[in-house]
Symmetry: C2
Subunit: 232 residues, 2 copies
């Protein structure tokens, strides 16, 4: 009996709610997910542990951790100890320009590594959990950015020059609200208790007050649910 191997796809996995959902969606779409997680000078390891747990539970084909040093450039509250993570903001304030938690060129660097791995795997499908609604302030989460990256990627690689398949950047969350993402993930069996979204977690759990926690809690509340992840 011949078995057809599902095509490989590279899935960017941070360990947060969004990327855990994307991983489950990639598999549901018939791909064999290869997970890629970055260590990039974050102040905490909670996200990386979450990525490990999520990938193990999803039984991914392969999971690579890529060390990248963005902290040496500074310029973001997520990598620079001199900048404070904002807490307890009204959600409406989040629309006000590019947030301090923005990391310079982060998604471009992440997708570039994903492209390199895809090329070696012979894959043409990349998945990233960007979201245009919740993170409207991040320039590299917008659809026009993703389209431009895909266009560039098709000109950058062997496959684009010599191959017949087009490289695709899948953004299945791009138009979903946080509540819709959570509903979709629960439908696919994602265990959100394994994920970590907080910008400032401790061993006891998430802070519940940063922008990421507030959006997440609101998403569960809108589904009439309690977030299963630990809060301190």
């Amino acid at each position: 009996m011949n078995r057809v191997e599902p095509p490989a796809a590279v899935v960017l996995l941070s360990g947060g709610l969004d990327s855990a959902t994307v991983l489950a969606m990639a598999r549901a779409q018939g791909f064999s997910p290869h997970a890629m997680t970055f260590r990039y000078g974050q102040r905490h390891e909670a996200e990386l542990e979450a990525a490990r747990r999520v990938a193990a539970r999803e039984n991914v084909s392969d999971h690579v951790f890529v060390e990248i040093d963005l902290a040496q450039f500074g310029g973001s509250a997520l990598t620079d100890d001199d900048l404070e993570v904002p807490k307890g903001r009204d959600l409406s304030e989040m629309d006000d320009g590019i947030p301090v938690t923005y990391v310079p060129a982060r998604n471009t660097i992440f997708l570039s590594y994903a492209l390199a791995w895809a090329e070696v795997l012979g894959a043409v499908d990349l998945f990233i959990g960007v979201n245009a609604l919740d993170y409207s302030g991040y320039p590299d989460c917008r659809p026009e950015y993703i389209e431009a990256f895909a266009r560039m990627a098709n000109l950058a690689t062997r496959e684009g020059v010599e191959g017949e398949r087009e490289l695709r950047v899948h953004t299945p969350l791009i138009d979903l609200t946080k509540a819709q993402i959570i509903a979709k993930g629960l439908e696919l069996g994602v265990d959100y208790g394994l994920t970590s979204t907080c910008y400032d977690p401790t061993e006891a759990g998430a802070c519940g007050e940063c922008d990421a926690c507030l959006l997440r809690l609101k998403g569960f509340a809108e589904n009439g649910l309690t977030d299963p992840a630990p809060y301190r």
Copy 2:
């Protein structure tokens, strides 16, 4: 007396002949060059030492070394010990498809880091020594690729969304032959004895037989000159 600071530019500096020339050209065009060099699982340190020497001689404003791990993906003779660097090929063979020394998504990753640093510096000018004539087999050295990267970069960053300046990827070597690059560099005072181009150098010097050495030696010969760099 008011002094106007020259605008910062990020210059990708490998330590080879091409990027040393680009660095001198960036300064000649009125920029304050900030040099960025990558360690990416090369088999040798000669290139990195050369980058250090070139940056020191050019007295750059800043020089960062970025550690990136491309070797974990494999797929290139420059990062994978299982693949042989081709030696003693006829130069006409180099036009035959994408060479084995191609590194997956390398320029995309390099330019993405340059973009991140530029954003932190408030710079909008990136310089890269790609060359469409000598390296026609590398997809990420072609003008259409560079244009697509610049377009993506302008959608990826704060400056592209909120700013008034356009991000530019300068490729001053793109249409030049190796002989023309060398002539230009000598005019600007580049000391090519400090540079290292070889794909397979030892402490005693360059091999003189790989594609990179052959192209370089031909370039000096066409200028009626002897390459000042050491060969073993």
